[in-house]
Amino acid sequence: MPLSPVRRLLDFDAQYRRDQQHTPDFLHRRDRRLALARQQDGAPPPDAAAWLSAVDAPGAGDALRSWRRGRAALTVAGAVLGVLTMLGVLYVDGQGRINVTLIMALALLQLVLALATSAQALSGRRPWGRLLGRGDGADTPVLRQLHPQLAARAAHGAGLAFAVTALLTLLAQVLVRDLAFGWSTTLQTSAPAYHALVEQLAWPWRGWLPAAVPGLELVEQSRYFRLVSEAPADPERLGAWWPFLAMLWLCYVLLPRLALLGLARLHLNHRARALLQRHPGWVALRERFATPWVDSGQAPAAAGPGPAVPAATELAPAPERGVVIRWAGAGSADLAGRLLEQAPAQVLEAGGSASLEQDRDTLARADLGLPVVLLARGWEPPTGELADFLDDARHCLPADTDIMLLPLANDDKTAVVDGALLAQWQRFVGRHKPVRLCRP
């Protein structure tokens, strides 16, 4: 069954509020895919109902429950009030007559009230809203914007129930009682003038139902004065007003209420459609439909948790004597020459632009039975070639040779002290024991 515009608006608003919990990326991807799927079938982007169905929206629940209950209560109240009002109007004591003028005034009052209700709804105002608004707090802002129209629909429903039961009560009274109608007024009005008024009021039906239009004779005969207690010449004639009164009620109370109830429904639906079109979620949804989804690296981050940082250890001091090897040109020749307390036995080069043969030659020349200090750029991560060189050194040099690695800071003069950088070098030498880290 297609959703009513009001239900569609409320369901959409509920889904919009649920969507606030999602990421904008997810929403864009989901909705753009829906639009593209329809585009492939040659269809325009989905409307609100199709979209709600496509995203499997659970709906807004029974958001209109209190309004529905209120409408039902008002309708019942209107129906009961219609019966009571008509019984009250038709009540006479003894030989009294029922004043037609009073019924005409009541009908016209009903018409004015009905028109005023519609005018309020059309203007979007609800002046009496504060009186009844205590329970509105649970309604969503969108539903609150429909209050004037919902209230008008409820009021017209109650008014229609009032009009129907009042008319039925009139007809029932006509059937079971001998009603004597008359007209009376304090104003200086002649019977012809009153007849002219009646004829005007009967305009909607006088052309096709003349029996329901009182004639001048009836009008003259049915005038009465409260202080004159003369009996009417023909009491049976006085009941002839009832077709006029029934038609008056039908045309000026019941049918206008029915028409205005239909108008209220149309207005409510129109207002709901308009609110949906202006809903911030609908505007954003259409943007998502129309905007290509650009996915530039939405995948989960490639990096996992970093390796564990080993416990800080005190760096060994550089040996007093030894061989210094500059790996990939780390440190200056000058620094290498004065790094140790005593001048190094050899300052050699390895790695970088040197060939593998030159590395092997360096290791052969470093075999002097002295500690070997390898200078490296500490701000760069240790490479596999450095690892290979250390492995080769352990195999080529005597087993008791102390091999020490000194990663330099980016000033190329001092040792690395940065925690993260030092940690990666500690892990590195940990994998190449018995190589140790040292400081100048």
Binding site: T23, P24, D25, R32, R33, L36, P141, V142, R144, Q145, L275, R278, H279, P280, E287, T291, P292, W293, V294, D295, S296, G297, Q298, A299, P300, A301, A302, A303, P307, A328, G329, G351, G352, S353, S355, L356, W379, E380, P381, P382, T383, G384, E385, A387, D388, N410, Q424, R427, F428, R431
Partner: protein, 475 residues
């Protein structure tokens, strides 16, 4: 376009020369690991650019070379002539696929042998050294289209030496600062990738067009987020109940505190929303360490001095905003009021703006007693009545948005709020100033208040444009 013909680019180079920074910036992913070491398991990271699920190109972040001299020695030992070099490289990968020593080399060479273009990254801040020639030589042996990127990680400048050396090995040599390059430079670089092969030009052009549209769309969305936050913050009210025997001052203090806390939280939510929009997913973790200047919280005098406006400005803009409203009366009277509506509205607007905009800190929210109930009175703090408040929130939000939107995903420094000796509102034409003032004075009261919402969104859009102009002029 088939998946096979899709441009793919392997970002390769020596360890720690900025490969991942390049990929992080171009793929807009701030979660990419920046520095690793041998011994840590490293696999290629794939970062495709898809538009509506259609793959336009793919960046492949590879491990760095670990043993280039050994690889080159193997290749030279197994090659007879220049014509068999690509096959020899393929043979190397086949031979050493399961050798842990050459895991990284096999990883980085595999996509190249499968048809990816080469993006070789070097650090232009350190002097050129021959030690990387082995890597470049290996890449040349693959015979694939190649482009060298000179990234600058440090302060040094050795671009000329690098350009000269790289020009001998690569078809195209480009400079690219992964951390600071503006968005247009990203697009220019991507177009440069398209020059590597004729069939790659069209998809790269299409990709750059989509990325440009995406950026424009994000700007629109970010400014809408700011407008929504402004509306919330300008209209927020905290309510409480003051019993007949209760302490009024204590309740006012309590409501005021709750009101300020709510405002701070709403502002933080806006920050997170804008960062998520620009895919700065890891910036949030650093938010606690954001280097907001001490004392420059939302409600400080420092914030007012930086982002607030002068009394003269308030009077002028307030007059204009009031006149805009008063002009409606003139329109209703078909001009018979002879412009009196606009004049009266203007005077009232100016007077109100100056009166409420004088002091700042003690006029953020108004404490009011509302309806009585049995045994007490309903009390409220807020909404804000100081017109400066909207300017402070807006200025801070625009500054944050500007920094986030201009921040590359390789950046790791904390955000800092900027300061300036001129005010960004200078860039806003008078008419737009008045509309902004009116929108701040009369924000939407509820989500369905379409007219005011549109007015505020339009005013913030214009403010965003003016802010961009101001920042581009200041930088």
């Amino acid at each position: 376009m088939t998946e096979h013909a899709t441009p793919r680019f392997a970002v390769v180079g020596h360890p720690n020369k900025g490969k991942s920074s390049i990929v992080a910036t171009l793929a807009q992913n701030d979660g990419i690991a920046i520095a690793l070491e041998p011994g840590t398991t490293r696999e290629n990271g794939h970062y495709p650019l898809r538009v509506d699920d259609r793959l336009l190109y793919e960046l492949i972040d590879t491990p760095g070379f670990q043993r280039p001299r050994r690889v080159l020695a193997w290749l030279q030992a197994h090659s007879l002539s220049a014509s068999d070099r690509p096959d020899t490289v393929r043979a190397f990968v086949t031979q050493h696929r399961d050798d842990p020593r050459f895991h990284d080399e096999c990883q980085l060479l595999t996509p190249i042998l499968d048809g990816a273009g080469i993006l070789y990254v070097v650090d232009g801040a350190v002097p050129y050294s021959r030690e990387q020639e082995a890597e470049m030589e290996i890449l040349r042996w693959t015979g694939r289209p190649s482009l060298a990127l000179i990234n600058r990680i440090g302060a040094g400048d050795h671009l000329a030496d690098w350009r000269a050396a790289l020009g001998q090995y690569f078809q195209i040599v480009r400079d690219f600062d992964a951390v600071h390059a503006p968005f247009d430079a990203h697009l220019s670089l991507l177009r440069g990738f398209g020059q590597l092969a004729p069939e790659w030009e069209a998809p790269l052009e299409e990709a750059t067009a989509h990325l440009r549209d995406q950026r424009r769309h994000r700007q629109h969305q970010a400014l809408q987020l700011i407008a929504a936050a402004l509306a919330d913050m300008l209209t927020h009210r905290e309510t409480g109940r003051l019993r007949d025997d209760g302490n009024r001052d204590a309740l006012e203090h309590d409501l005021g505190q709750r009101w300020r806390d709510w405002q701070r939280q709403r502002e933080q939510r806006l920050r997170r929303d804008v960062e998520a929009l620009y895919q700065h997913r890891h910036l949030r973790r650093r938010e606690q360490a954001l280097a907001w200047q001490p004392g420059s919280d939302l409600f400080s005098e420092q914030a007012r001095r930086t982002w607030g406006v002068s009394r003269t400005y308030l009077a002028t803009a307030g007059f204009g905003a009031g006149a805009l409203g008063g002009a409606g009366i003139d329109a209703l009277t078909a001009g018979h009021s002879l412009g009196a509506g606009a004049l009266i509205g203007g005077v009232l607007g100016a007077a109100g703006s100056v009166f409420y905009g004088g002091k700042y800190a003690d006029k953020l929210g108004a404490f009011k007693m509302l309806e009585r109930f049995t045994g007490g009175t309903e009390a409220a703090f807020g909404p804000v009545r100081d017109p400066q408040f909207g300017y402070v929130v807006l200025g801070r939000a625009l500054e944050h948005w500007h920094q986030v939107s201009h921040r590359n995903h390789a950046g790791r420094d904390p955000l800092t709020l900027g300061d300036a000796d001129r005010h960004w509102l200078e860039q806003l034409p008078r008419g737009q100033r008045q509309r902004l003032q009116k929108a701040l004075q009369d924000p939407p009261r509820e989500p369905g208040d379409v007219k005011r919402r549109d007015a505020l969104e339009n005013a913030v859009e214009q403010a965003g444009e003016a802010f961009l102009n101001w920042r581009s002029g200041a930088s």
